[in-house]
């Protein structure tokens, strides 16, 4: 089945398109409309993960404050399209502004951290993520910029050509709730992001990033401007994050600093690591799994209530436990991720290869 599809990429592509188009209906009728909302979040996280993958997976810069860009995109959207300042710019203007602001902050974060690598870079970016969140939490005085911990609400929904995504759409006798409409909007942006990421990876720019990840000194000796290329990676990743943030703000209609905690940064990083760093299908898989599984775990709470009458194990505790177990299992059995990129697989396999070779020569010696 899979083989025959691989031989006919067009057919596979058509099937995938139909599946993606029908997915909210399948989920909606099969599992209930709350799952369509989950699908929307899956797409947002895919978008985030693809952005972070440019920074971490392609250029090898460990960024633990990625969610700050998501927050910036969301707040810019809220500032420009909510009653807070009385501005109601259309989404097609606000979204690029938010993405650009996030991208700019990406460069601002990147510039002072250029000399840092690995752990040190991780610490600084982690601090940056927290700084943005704490700013958002406290900038309600002296001038009320962010409305502090209460957050900002009544954010305008996306509206295209008079069609507001905030209200249900009646089409051919069918009622499409906002979650369905946003699904298609997010899908469009996600597919676009995937295309951009694929094309960047397989280009002069992508090769330069990979070279920096492999050996920065050698990359510089090959004429690569490592400073600019690293800043570019930060900016590109941040732009994706800002875009996702804007979409998130429009979708939710409400944002507060609580949505942008360190945990979110770590979650997105986990998606990449779990799925397979540097490999887009892997990153997508990681984002889908880590968004869907916690939702599925809610049923365990219902199940306990139904069978035992009360909740013994809190599903959200279970979530953390499973997360830990999954990550440990990953390190042991698939250190390069579920769907690793060709390169990562080699990186992790390289040592095994040597060990095997040594073993083999030992056996030869014995025989």
């Amino acid at each position: 089945m899979l083989d025959s599809l691989r031989r006919r990429p067009r057919l596979a592509f058509a099937l995938l398109a139909v599946l993606l188009a029908a997915l909210p209906f399948i989920m909606g009728f099969g599992l209930g409309n709350s799952w369509v909302r989950v699908l929307d979040f899956v797409l947002l996280y895919v978008l985030l993960a693809i952005g972070l993958n440019i920074v971490v997976g392609y250029a090898g810069l460990l960024d633990l404050g990625y969610i700050a860009f998501y927050a910036l995109g969301a707040y810019v959207y809220a500032w420009l399209a909510s009653p807070h300042f009385g501005l109601h710019l259309p989404f097609w203007a606000v979204l690029p502004i938010g993405a650009a602001v996030a991208g700019l902050f990406g460069v601002l974060l990147g510039a002072p951290t250029l000399r840092l690598r690995g752990d040190y870079l991780a610490i600084v970016t982690l601090g940056f993520g927290e700084i943005i969140r704490i700013f958002m939490n406290n900038l309600n005085a002296p001038f009320n910029l962010t409305n502090g911990p209460q957050g900002m609400n009544l954010i305008d929904p996306v509206s295209v050509a008079g069609l507001s995504f905030g209200k249900s759409l009646h089409l051919f006798g069918m009622k499409l709730p906002p979650t369905y409409l946003y699904y298609y909007l997010f899908l469009a942006f996600t597919l676009l992001a995937i295309l951009v990421a694929f094309r960047l990876q397989d280009s002069r720019i992508g090769r330069a990033w990979a070279a920096i990840r492999e050996d920065e000194v050698a990359a510089a000796a090959m004429g690569i401007n490592t400073r600019n290329m690293k800043l570019l990676a930060f900016a590109m990743g941040a732009t994706f994050g800002g875009l996702a943030g804007g979409l998130f703000a429009a979708f939710q209609g409400f944002i507060s600093p609580e949505s942008f905690t360190l945990w979110e940064s770590i979650l997105v990083l986990c998606m990449i690591v779990l799925g397979g760093m540097g490999n887009i299908p892997g990153v997508i898989l990681g984002a889908v799994l880590l968004t869907m599984i916690p939702e599925a775990l809610r049923y365990i709470g219902d199940l306990q209530r139904a069978t035992l009458g009360h909740i013994v194990v809190d599903p959200s505790d279970l979530r953390m436990l499973l997360f830990g177990v999954a990550l440990v299992a990953m390190m042991l059995f698939r250190p390069a991720g579920l769907l690793p990129s060709r390169q990562r697989k080699r990186e992790f396999a390289a040592e095994d290869g040597v060990a095997e070779q040594e073993q083999a020569s030992l056996y030869d010696a014995k025989a």
Partner: protein, 254 residues
Amino acid sequence: MSVLLSVDQVTKRFGGLAALEDVSLTVEAGEIYGLIGPNGAGKTTLFNCMTGLYTVTSGAVRLAGAEVQALKPHQIVKRGFARTFQNIRLFANMSALENVMVGRHPRTHATVLGAVLRCRKTRAEEAGIREHAHELLRYVGLGGKSRGLASHLSYGDQRRLEIARALATEPKLLALDEPVAGMNPNERQQMGELFRKLREGGVTLLLIEHDVKLVMGLCDRVAVLDYGRKIAEGPAEEVRRDPAVIAAYLGGEA
């Protein structure tokens, strides 16, 4: 002949330690210039100063007349001065072909927008990069090994690949840091042939080498470093007979 590279009274100190003291030398276009000296003499330090990895404490490095000692490594590469490393620094998890393709970076122009839109110009450039890389692999004798992982190549082939990768940047001057270290005599001879072929192709070579026999047979002129100072410079045969060189370097072995 015109002077391609001139090193003018370069001093490099690490804290109180002077790794290079007032070193001057000139490399002329079209020659093979050898840099020899005992371990720790400062040969690689000089390479690093010339290629922008280290900033010199004082002195100047000129490439085709223009000062380059304050430039970043990638700017120096762009001006036509490429190098290889003593301890091979390939992109180990990329294929041989990809390694050479990275080397095309400074001579190509695709931007983010071009890469994303993949317009005709970008596609043509990309095809050109691939073709050029294949050609260079064949040139250094790795024609059949383009798909293999760089780290899976034999030691000698890795050295060749590093040269191919450096050649991809279209250097006028190529600096090779111990390119035949650890090779057997047969391989050394083949590398020597490659160097001559490179020179005939118009590339000026600057090489650090321990193998005195190779250096003497190959190089037009030789400079000898000892304890961070240049103790001799000139045609190979002259330098060989220089008493200071014999005392410092060859004398140790005799």
